[in-house]
C-alpha cells in the first residue's frame, strides 16, 4: 500500500466572501480540507490615505483617519491628535482629555462588541451577533447625541474636540453602563462558555508569544499570547495613568496560551476594563472650555514625531513629518491590523478551512485600516 497523495487545490476566499471582514482575498492552498499555505492579497480598499494626507492641511487629515479604522474612528482620531499635539507641543485642557478618554473607551467597547459578535457569526452562532450589535447601537446613539455622527465622527481636533459633551451625557452614559455590565454575563452564557464554541476555538491557531512579537502583532492579539503590553499602561498618553485598570492577558483558559479562544476572551475582559475606566472618568470630568486650546493655524515646527496609541486593534502609530508648512510632508500610519494579518499564513498552516475562518476572525482585522 502506497501513500495516497492528493493534489493541491487553490481555493480563492474573497474578495467577496461572508467571512473576510471586508474585501480581503485569501489564496489558500488546500489538500482536501487541510490548508497548507495562505497568501493574503490586499489593496481592494486602498484609498491612498497617506498620499492624500500630503495634499491637505493637518486638520483635514482627521476625517481620513476616521475612514481607516471605521469601527473605532474615535481611537483613530485620538492617535492622530495626540501625535500632532506632541509635535506642536500644545497643552490641552483637562476636560478635553477626559472627554477623549471617555469617547475612546466607549468606542473600544463598540469595536470589541462588533469583533466578538462577528466572531460568533464566523463560528456559526447567529444570535450573539445581534445581541452585541443591539448594545453597540446604544453607544452609537451616544456618539450621535454628542457629535452628530454615528460612524465617522471627525470628533477629536488638534487641541480640543469638535463638540462639548451634552449636559446630561453623564447620566446617559452611566445608565448605559449599568445596563451593559449584566449583559456581559449574558454574552458569556450564550457564547463564551458554549461547549461547541469552546471546541471550535480552544487550541486552534495558537500564536506563541515569540512569534507574535517577531511579527509585530499588538493589542489584544499580543496580550492573548501572554505578553503584557498595553500602550495605555506602558507608554501612557493623554491621562491614562490616572485610571486604575488591569491589562488582561491570555491564560489558556480552555486550551493553549495564545489560541483563538484566548484572543476572544481577552477582548471580553477588555470590555470590562473599559467599563471600569469609563466609570472612573465619568465621575471626575472637570468643567472647562473644550475649544480654548484650539490653535488658530496649525503650522507645526519643522521636525517629525512618532506616537503610538492603543486602538482596539493594537498599537496604532502615526509618524508625521512636518516641513513647517500647513500641509504635512509625510503621514505614515502603523496599522495594527496589518501586522496581525501578516502572521495568518504561519498560524493557519496545517489547520482546516473552517479554522482559517476562525483564526482570521479572532485576529479582528479591519480592511479599511490594512489597506488605508
Amino acid at each position: 500500500m502506497g501513500v495516497v497523495k492528493g493534489d493541491q487545490m487553490i481555493l480563492n476566499i474573497g474578495p467577496q466572501h461572508p467571512s473576510t471582514h471586508g474585501v480581503l482575498r485569501l489564496e489558500v492552498m488546500t489538500d482536501g480540507e487541510i490548508v497548507s499555505q495562505i497568501r493574503p492579497h490586499l489593496g481592494y480598499l486602498h484609498r491612498c490615505f497617506e498620499k492624500h494626507s500630503e495634499n491637505v492641511t493637518y486638520e483635514q487629515v482627521i476625517p481620513f483617519t476616521d475612514r481607516c479604522d471605521y469601527l473605532a474612528s474615535m481611537n483613530s482620531n485620538f492617535g492622530y491628535v495626540v501625535a500632532m499635539e506632541e509635535l506642536m507641543e500644545i497643552k490641552i485642557p483637562e476636560r478635553v482629555e477626559y472627554i477623549r478618554v471617555i469617547m475612546g473607551e466607549l468606542n473600544r467597547i463598540a469595536s470589541h462588541l462588533l469583533a466578538l459578535g462577528v466572531y460568533g457569526l464566523d463560528i456559526g452562532a447567529f444570535t450573539p451577533f445581534l445581541y452585541m450589535l443591539r448594545d453597540r447601537e446604544r453607544i452609537l446613539d451616544m456618539f450621535e447625541y454628542t457629535c452628530g455622527a454615528r460612524l465617522l465622527y471627525n470628533y477629536m481636533w488638534v487641541g480640543g474636540v469638535s463638540h462639548d459633551l451634552p449636559k446630561d451625557f453623564e447620566t446617559i452614559c452611566t445608565d448605559f453602563l449599568d445596563y451593559f455590565e449584566p449583559q456581559i454575563k449574558e454574552y458569556n452564557n450564550l457564547l463564551s462558555f458554549n461547549k461547541i464554541f469552546v471546541e471550535r476555538t480552544a487550541d486552534v491557531g495558537v500564536i506563541p508569544a515569540d512569534v507574535a512579537v517577531s511579527y509585530g502583532v499588538s493589542g489584544p492579539n499580543l496580550r492573548a499570547s501572554g505578553v503584557k503590553w498595553d500602550v495605555r499602561k506602558d507608554e501612557p498618553y493623554s491621562i491614562y495613568e490616572k485610571f486604575d485598570f488591569d491589562v488582561p492577558t491570555g491564560t489558556g483558559e480552555f486550551g493553549t496560551l495564545g489560541d483563538c479562544y484566548d484572543r476572544y476572551w481577552v477582548r471580553m475582559l477588555e470590555i470590562e476594563e473599559s467599563v471600569k475606566i469609563l466609570r472612573q472618568a465619568l465621575k471626575e470630568v472637570p468643567s472647562g472650555d473644550v475649544h480654548q486650546a484650539l490653535p488658530k493655524k496649525i503650522r507645526p515646527p519643522k521636525g517629525s514625531v512618532y506616537r503610538r496609541t492603543e486602538s482596539p486593534r493594537g498599537d496604532l502609530g502615526y509618524y508625521i513629518i512636518s516641513d513647517g508648512t500647513p500641509v504635512p510632508s509625510r503621514v505614515k500610519m502603523r496599522s495594527p491590523a496589518f501586522t496581525a494579518l501578516s502572521c495568518l499564513d504561519e498560524v493557519s498552516r496545517g489547520w482546516m478551512i473552517s479554522d482559517v475562518i476562525a483564526i482570521l476572525g479572532s485576529l479582528d482585522i479591519v480592511l479599511g485600516e490594512i489597506d488605508r
Partner: protein, 358 residues
C-alpha cells in the same frame, strides 16, 4: 387514506388495474405535495419569527395588502415564493448542465418519498408499509445522491466542498439514526409505523402515556441520539457544515438560484418534517394523545401528531439560533466516537431489558 385502499376502491368500479393505480397515486400524491409546500411556507414564516424573537427583533412586520408582506408579515413567505419563481434561473456556463438540472429533482424525490409513509393520523397516511420505518430511513438516503450531483455539476470549488462534506455527514449520521430507531422496533416487534404507534397506547403506572421514550432508560437515551442524528441528517445547525455560510458561502447550493434553489429549500423543510415524523411515531406515541384515554379519537390524532411534529421542528429552530457550528472533523468525532457507541450500548441494554421485564 392509503394508496392501497384507493386502488381497491377504484378496482371495484371496473377492470382497469393500471388506470386505477395511476389515479390512486395521483390523488394521494397531490395532497402530499400540498402538505410539503404548506409545511415549507409555514415553517419559513415560523422560522423567521422564532429567530426574530430569539434575537430581540420583530421579524417580518408588513401591514396590510399591496407591496407589504401582510399583517404581522403573514404574506412574507408568499412574497418569497413569488420572488423565487420570477427570479432568473442561472446555469453556470462551465457546469455539467444535465446533472445540474437533474440534481434538484433527485433531492426533491428523496424528501417527497419519505413523506408518503408519515402517519399523520390513524387513517391519514398515504402508504402504510409493513416496513415503514425501514422505508423512511432508506429513501432518506436518496437525497445525498442529489447533493453530490449538485456539488459536482456546479463546477465550483465551494459547491464541491459542500457536497463532499454533506455526503460524509449524511452517510455517517444515518448509522446512529438507524441504530437508534432499532430500539422502538425491538420493543414493538414491528416495522409498521401504525402498529408501532398502536403499541404505544395505554399508560405506564397509570399516569405517563405509554410512549416508547418513557418506557425504559435506554429508549429515553435512544430518542435523543435519534433526534441529534436527525438534525444532522437535515443539515441544520449545529451540523450545517455543508452549507456553512461563513465558510463555504452556500455550500452545494452556491450556484443555484430561482426555483431550483427553492426546490432545495422545500426539500430541506420536508426532510425536517419526515425525520421529526419518524421521531414522533417511533418515540413520542405518534398520533396518541398525551393524556391517555382522552381526546384520542378522530381528528384529534392529526392534531396531536402535528403538535408533536411542530414542537420538534421548533426545537430544531431553537438549536439553529442558539448554537455555533461544529467543525467537520468534530462532526465525525461526535458521530463515530460518541453517538454510535451510545446507540450500540442502547440496543444491548434494550435487549436485556426486554429479556427481564418484557
Amino acid at each position: 387514506m392509503t394508496v392501497d385502499t384507493l386502488i381497491n376502491w377504484f378496482a371495484t368500479m371496473g377492470d382497469f388495474p393500471i388506470l386505477a393505480f395511476i389515479l390512486a397515486v395521483v390523488i394521494s400524491g397531490i395532497p402530499l405535495f400540498l402538505v410539503m409546500a404548506l409545511n415549507a411556507m409555514i415553517a419559513v414564516y415560523v422560522e423567521r419569527k422564532v429567530s426574530a424573537f430569539m434575537m430581540d427583533r420583530v421579524g417580518p412586520m408588513g401591514q396590510g395588502p399591496g407591496l407589504h408582506a401582510g399583517k404581522w408579515g403573514l404574506l412574507q413567505t408568499a412574497a418569497d415564493a413569488i420572488k423565487l419563481l420570477v427570479k432568473e434561473d442561472t446555469v453556470p456556463e462551465s457546469s455539467d448542465k444535465f446533472l445540474f438540472k437533474m440534481a434538484p429533482y433527485i433531492i426533491f424525490i428523496g424528501a417527497f418519498l419519505g413523506l408518503a409513509a408519515v402517519p399523520f393520523s390513524s387513517s391519514l397516511q398515504v402508504a402504510d408499509f409493513n416496513v415503514g420505518v425501514f422505508y423512511i430511513i432508506a429513501v432518506g438516503s436518496i437525497g445525498i445522491i442529489g447533493i453530490v450531483m449538485a456539488g459536482w455539476a456546479s463546477n465550483n470549488k465551494w459547491s464541491l466542498y459542500g457536497a463532499m462534506r454533506s455526503a460524509a455527514q449524511i452517510i455517517s449520521y444515518e448509522i446512529p439514526a438507524g441504530l437508534s430507531i432499532i430500539v422502538p422496533i425491538m420493543m414493538a416487534g414491528t416495522l409498521n409505523l401504525q402498529e408501532l404507534i398502536i403499541f404505544q397506547s395505554g399508560t405506564i403506572w397509570g399516569i405517563l402515556p405509554n410512549w416508547i421514550i418513557f418506557n425504559n432508560p435506554f429508549s429515553f437515551i435512544a430518542f435523543f441520539t435519534f433526534f441529534i442524528s436527525a438534525v444532522a441528517e437535515t443539515n441544520r445547525t449545529p451540523f450545517d457544515i455543508p452549507e456553512a455560510e461563513s465558510e463555504l458561502v452556500a455550500g452545494w447550493m452556491t450556484e443555484y438560484s430561482g426555483f431550483r434553489w427553492a426546490v432545495f429549500f422545500l426539500s430541506e423543510y420536508a426532510n425536517m418534517l419526515v425525520v421529526s415524523g419518524l421521531a414522533v411515531a417511533g418515540f413520542l406515541g405518534g398520533w396518541q394523545s398525551p393524556i391517555p384515554g382522552l381526546f384520542n379519537t378522530g381528528l384529534w390524532g392529526l392534531f396531536w401528531f402535528m403538535g408533536k411534529l411542530g414542537f420538534l421542528i421548533f426545537v430544531m429552530m431553537w438549536f439553529r439560533w442558539t448554537f455555533p457550528r461544529l467543525r467537520v472533523d468534530q462532526l465525525m468525532h461526535v458521530c463515530w466516537k460518541v453517538l454510535i457507541p451510545i446507540t450500540m450500548f442502547n440496543i444491548f441494554g434494550v435487549g436485556i431489558w426486554k429479556l427481564i421485564f418484557g
